[in-house]
Symmetry: C2
Subunit: 126 residues, 2 copies
């Protein structure tokens, strides 16, 4: 069983965390998503934490957990904090494959989408 | 003259700020971007600040500044901090139109791209 765990930063504004949970629901139901299990976790300020999120995947039967950082740039959270949290879980579960995927913003398609959105945004404010 | 000002969070990791500046360069050169002027500013931890970024647009001759929050969810930064910084500049420059566009992550296409990227990510880790 393969789990996808989307990692967001987490916010003091609960509506923002709820936005991520709803996005995760959309991802779960999306036809192109072939993970057996899709959930989210937060680096800070919201639940579940990254270790708890990974543990929940394992408890549901995951043999592979793909941790996907939903971040736009490679700041300390992506470069250091997330790998640190994941490394601890790997030590606890050497039998489970836990992989950190490239962060969302690293994709060239994000730049393309950004260009498209800025163009639309400018057209809305002629 | 119309300026597009991309707002990122800013990071203690300078490589992350540089990533945003390079992205801004790509946006500036993108054929679908019809802003007269494209630059970036940071909410914190990097330069220029949002007020300084807006001021630089105005100094270059902008009559309209479209502030585009490059954020994935509507946390406090998007809901409160950016509008606060912009409101102060509006008071100083009532003759300049300063608009805050919807944040990047609010687009349905972001969800679609996320679904596509997660699918690719899972295929890379069969």
């Amino acid at each position: 069983m393969k789990s996808l765990l989307l990692i967001a930063h987490g916010s003091r504004r609960e509506a923002s965390n709820e936005e991520i949970r709803q996005l995760t629901g959309k991802l779960q139901r999306h036809p192109s998503n072939d993970a057996d299990d899709t959930s989210c976790a937060f680096l800070e300020l919201a639940e579940p934490s990254i270790p708890d999120g990974i543990q929940q995947c394992i408890d549901r039967g995951a043999r592979t957990v793909v941790v996907y950082p939903y971040f736009l740039s490679q700041g300390r959270h992506v470069a250091e904090d997330i790998p640190q949290e994941v490394a601890q879980k790997k030590l606890q579960h050497p039998d489970v494959e836990i992989i950190i995927a490239n962060y969302f913003g690293s994709s060239d398609q994000v730049v393309e989408l950004l260009a498209q959105k800025t163009s639309e945004t400018l057209q809305q404010h002629p």
